[in-house]
């Protein structure tokens, strides 16, 4: 069932630059379990899109299958959505992006959807640096099929039925960095102040932007002994930096580093302002990011925040040199060589 949200809204809700209130960015009423981390992430997406002044119809939201993959129905109802098949959202997003480079592509997946059935596509979409946001709502289990362990469940973590996971977990964030993803962040569904600027920065990134969001499953994996429960995550979270997304046109003149603060200039003139909490870590250096993630894991910490970014990476379109005009706007005139050319082709085949 999908419930339609009641239409009545407070008349004095603030409007963004496009004149839209935040409600314009909402979707259908969620049917997920009350308290599910995924709903908080949806709310973060709504907030980020509103604050970023996104035209909803200029964004396409795509997902695979799972509780997490249902969420695109619960945000941005004025955007086209595509709930594809289990683990294959990256390929659909790739095709869609090739067809029209002018939209923002917003992908949502789960840990089962990305780290198991969809691992192949996850890895390859990173390789291609497809210009998209890719959020994994990571709860360490298969919510929709009732709580089986997923490949991101930590070794030794206990699920609701009391089973202890025997297998090494797959850490999607370090994998993404290792594979050369050009924007990698990690966050927690319970930390909206951190999540919203990360989503904004991800939408602004002109390449593959990955955010692994720990998102507890209250129904199947929020028990004592689970390393993906609200309590466990709250206790073990360690942030790289607090982060602000500073839009263009702000008064900032130049890149500077002042104390623990670092300004990262983005490709379009916007800035990311990071109040660093860890001294050794440099978000523009892949090795240092890898180290930071590994060190945190050694200490049983979950490192959140922006982990790594390459602000000037060239996306897939740039690599394969597709024309600036979206391919889906080309017509017979540009695409069909016509009968005269065909005459020559025929002649060459005689």
């Amino acid at each position: 069932m999908t419930y339609i949200r009641p239409k009545f809204r407070h008349p004095e809700l603030p409007k963004n630059k496009l004149g839209y209130t935040i409600s314009y960015y909402e979707g259908a009423l969620s049917t997920l379990c009350a308290g599910c981390g995924h709903d908080s992430i949806s709310a973060g997406i709504v907030q980020a899109a509103y604050e970023m002044n996104i035209e909803p119809h200029k964004l396409a939201k795509l997902s695979g299958i799972g509780c997490s993959s249902k969420t695109p129905a619960y945000f941005l109802s004025n955007s086209h959505g595509f709930n594809s098949v289990h683990g294959r959202m990256p390929s659909v997003a790739t095709g869609a992006n090739m067809a029209n480079r002018d939209l923002i592509y917003f992908g949502v997946s789960g840990d089962g959807d990305s780290a198991s059935i969809g691992m192949g596509q996850f890895v390859h979409v990173i390789r291609r640096n497809l210009n998209m946001v890719y959020i994994v709502m990571n709860n360490g289990c298969y919510g929709l099929t009732k709580g089986q362990d997923s490949a991101t469940a930590d070794r030794g973590s206990k699920n609701k039925s009391g089973n202890v996971n025997l297998f090494q977990s797959i850490d999607l964030a370090s994998l993404a960095i290792e594979l050369g993803a050009t924007f990698v962040a990690q966050s927690f569904s319970g930390d909206k102040t951190q999540l919203v600027p990360l989503i904004k920065a991800a939408m602004n990134h002109p390449g593959f932007a990955f955010i692994n969001v720990i998102s507890p499953c209250v129904t199947f994996n929020n028990n004592v002994g689970s390393t993906k429960s609200y309590d466990f995550v709250r206790e073990h979270v360690e942030a790289t930096a607090t982060i602000d997304f500073v839009p263009m046109m702000s008064e900032i003149k130049a890149e500077y580093t002042e104390g623990d603060s670092k300004m990262v200039k983005l490709h379009d003139g916007t800035y990311l302002k990071l109040h660093k909490l860890s001294q050794e870590w440099d978000p523009l250096n892949r090795l240092s990011a890898m180290n930071a993630v590994h060190n945190a894991r050694e200490k049983d910490e979950i490192l959140t925040g922006l982990l790594y970014m390459d602000p000037d990476s060239g996306d897939l379109h740039e690599m394969i040199q597709t024309s600036d005009r979206p391919l889906n706007t080309l017509t017979e005139k540009e695409l069909c060589p016509g009968p005269e050319v065909l005459k020559n082709i025929n002649a060459d085949l005689r």
Binding site: M1, T2, A28, P56, H57, K58, A60, L62, A73, S77, N78, S79, H80, G81, F82, N83, S84, V85, R88, P90, S91, V92, A93, T94, G95, A96, N97, M98, A99, N100, D102, L103, G120, Q121, V123, H124, R128, H317, I320, Q321, T322, S323, D324, L327, N328, L330, T331, E332, E334, L335, C336, P337, G338, P339, V341, L342, I345, N346, L349, R350
Partner: protein, 605 residues
């Protein structure tokens, strides 16, 4: 051997080579020369799933009557591969010829009483005339082509012009090639009686026809049809479809001003991703396709179900090969028919097109895009290895200046403004085909959620049995509509004149037509129909109902098209007889006639 009467323009030559030795271009030169002499010719590559060192064959049938199917019985074997010599000697027709490299003496075990031997010391001659090792290997092939020119009366000037075209810009290479050819000619002139009792004679039977492989024609068709996104995963025999598309794109899809490309071609990580990309691109309003073969089609099943149910145009070119599993990956078959027709779980049916010539590969690729967008569903072009990878004599490609792409029911922003409420799956026109919108069209109207789960007319998720059933029934209505959209079959007669008929499709066409002639010469009249599409157009049903004994000719073991006809048209099994070939080689007219006559109660007929 006594000289029988001469046969002109009617024989089969087979070349036995080792792959990777440069024989392909020499053999092609031979075939193209005959084509240039105005004589119908049909070459078949028989090659292993291997890159270097294993036996390959190239079989050329020359047929004044224009029979382009394969024919059994080899009149002349050019055997330059010691590995396959035993089989090669055995495959020559009694009274036929065996040309071999006599640099080494032919062993006694290869001697047959009823075969004529033509020994030419190819290696010796080459070693004497050329110093470079690679040249020695390559020109061995050219020498035997020269020998064939003399033995079969091929016009030498044709070779000169062909080499001139081939080495345009590299003129230095022409002279040594001519020299090698001439060496072959001279050797025959000095040592053998020539021409043989079968040979070629110039004709004017080719007209404006062209010679090309089906895969290149598909690639070109996709260019003409305006495909902008191609996603694929390499697999024989479909690889050259995308390679051709790439080649043509390099020529015709570079923006003259910016130098950028009006095309995106993605080599995907597997076939699942390839079809996913195609679906994503089509969903977003670009024409997009993939090309694959059996194993890839199997992997694409889940996504094809999504495209069917969510109603997303999808174009898939299936170049069929011998299955099941990896089967005989470099041999032909028409054995994906049932899998394609009902691909994916649940109730699904897919539109299939069956080209049988390069011209049809070109046209039907373009049709596939129109149909996929008009019907908002997957359309699969069912070609095969024989058509895709072998050169075929074909009518030339045609493209009407006024031809417009049929993009189907897509709403623009202005159209959306005029509607009260947009329903993605609302059957406004009553033909089962609903209206769609591309993402990014309108700020507040026309957005919808695409999904493989059940939904109502407004694309809202629902588990209501009624809504689900309404949707499934509408999809069935759309299927009925499709019958009027797809290509009509080819009927071989204006009025039926027999109780017996033949039904065939794709590459079985050539041998079936030849078989009809053979049967006619035995006083057996048959009507015939060539299928071009599934769902079966209404003409197919009428045709079948008008006959008592129906022979369905196809290249697979399980009589898949016959099953499809039974399932879809409810035809009684007793009426439908199977004519099959599934050994991986293209079907022959002899196989067809033999199987048909075995079913006919001849004296009473």
């Amino acid at each position: 051997m006594s000289l029988k009467e001469n046969r002109i323009n009617d024989f089969v030559v087979r070349f036995a080579n080792v792959n990777g030795t440069g024989s392909a271009s020499a053999n092609y030169l031979f075939c193209k020369a005959i084509f240039r002499m105005g004589i119908p010719v049909t070459p078949k590559n028989i090659f292993p799933s291997n890159i270097q060192g294993l036996p390959t064959w190239y079989e050329v049938r020359i047929s004044e009557k224009g029979y382009l199917g394969r024919r059994e019985g080899i009149d002349l074997m050019v055997a330059v591969n010691p590995q396959s010599m035993t089989a090669d000697v055995a495959s020559v027709k009694s009274g036929g010829y065996f040309l071999y490299d006599s640099s080494k003496k032919l062993q006694a075990e290869y001697m047959r009483e009823d075969v004529n031997y033509i020994g030419i010391p190819l290696m010796e001659m080459c070693n004497e005339a050329f110093t470079d090792a690679r040249q020695r290997q390559l020109f061995k092939n050219i020498i035997y082509v020269g020998a064939l020119a003399a033995l079969l009366n091929i016009d030498f000037s044709v070779f000169e012009s062909l080499l001139g075209e081939q080495f345009k810009g590299k003129e230095k290479l022409i002279a040594p090639n001519i020299k090698a050819l001439q060496m072959g000619v001279d050797y025959v002139h000095q040592n053998f009686k020539y021409p043989l009792n079968f040979y070629v004679e110039k004709r004017d039977l080719i007209g404006d026809k062209i010679m090309i492989d089906g895969n290149s024609a598909c690639g070109l068709g996709a260019i003409y049809a305006g495909a902008t996104v191609a996603a694929w995963y390499p697999i024989t025999p479909s690889t050259s479809v995308v390679e051709a598309f790439m080649g043509y794109a390099d020529e015709y899809r570079i923006d003259p001003v910016t130098g950028k490309r009006n095309v995106a071609i993605i080599q995907a990580e597997d076939e699942l991703a390839a079809i996913g990309m195609v679906i994503g691109a089509n969903w977003n309003g670009a024409r997009s396709f993939t090309a694959t073969s059996g194993p890839g089609l199997s992997l694409m099943n889940e996504f094809l179900g999504l495209a069917y149910f969510a109603e997303i145009p999808t174009v898939l070119i299936d170049v069929q090969r011998s299955g099941p599993s990896t089967g005989m990956p470099t041999r032909t078959q028409q054995s994906d028919v049932l899998e394609a027709a009902y691909a994916s779980h649940g109730d699904t049916k897919h539109v299939l097109l069956f080209p049988s010539t390069p011209k049809e590969c070109f046209e039907m690729t373009s049709d596939a895009f129109d149909l996929a967008e008009e019907l908002q569903t997957p359309v699969m072009l069912m070609t095969d290895l024989d058509l895709g990878m072998n050169d075929h004599v074909s009518a030339p490609f045609e493209w009407n200046v006024n031809k417009e792409y049929k993009r189907g029911k897509v709403l623009s922003a202005t159209a959306l403004d005029k509607i009260e409420k947009f329903g993605r799956y609302l059957d406004v026109d009553g033909d089962g085909i609903t209206y769609r919108t591309y993402p990014g069209t309108h700020p507040s109207k026309g957005s919808f959620f695409t999904r493989g789960t059940s939904r109502d007319e407004y694309a809202v998720y629902t588990e209501s049995s009624d809504a689900y059933k309404r949707n499934m029934d509408r999809l069935m209505k759309k299927w009925e509509t499709a019958k009027d959209y797809v290509n009509a079959p080819q009927l071989y007669q204006e009025k039926n004149h027999s109780k017996i008929c033949l039904i065939f499709f794709g590459t079985s066409q050539f041998s079936s037509e030849e078989a009809m002639d053979i049967l006619r010469s035995q006083n057996i009249q048959t009507d015939a129909l060539r299928l071009k599409a599934f769902p079966f157009n209404r003409d197919v049903e009428d045709f079948i109902n008008a006959h008592e004994q129906i022979f369905v000719i196809e290249q697979n073991r399980d009589a898949q098209m016959r099953s499809l006809i039974m399932i879809e048209l409810g035809i009684n099994a007793d009426k439908l007889f199977s004519v099959l070939n599934y050994d991986g080689m293209p079907i022959t007219a002899d196989q067809i006639t033999r199987q048909i006559t075995s079913h006919l109660n001849l004296p009473n007929n």
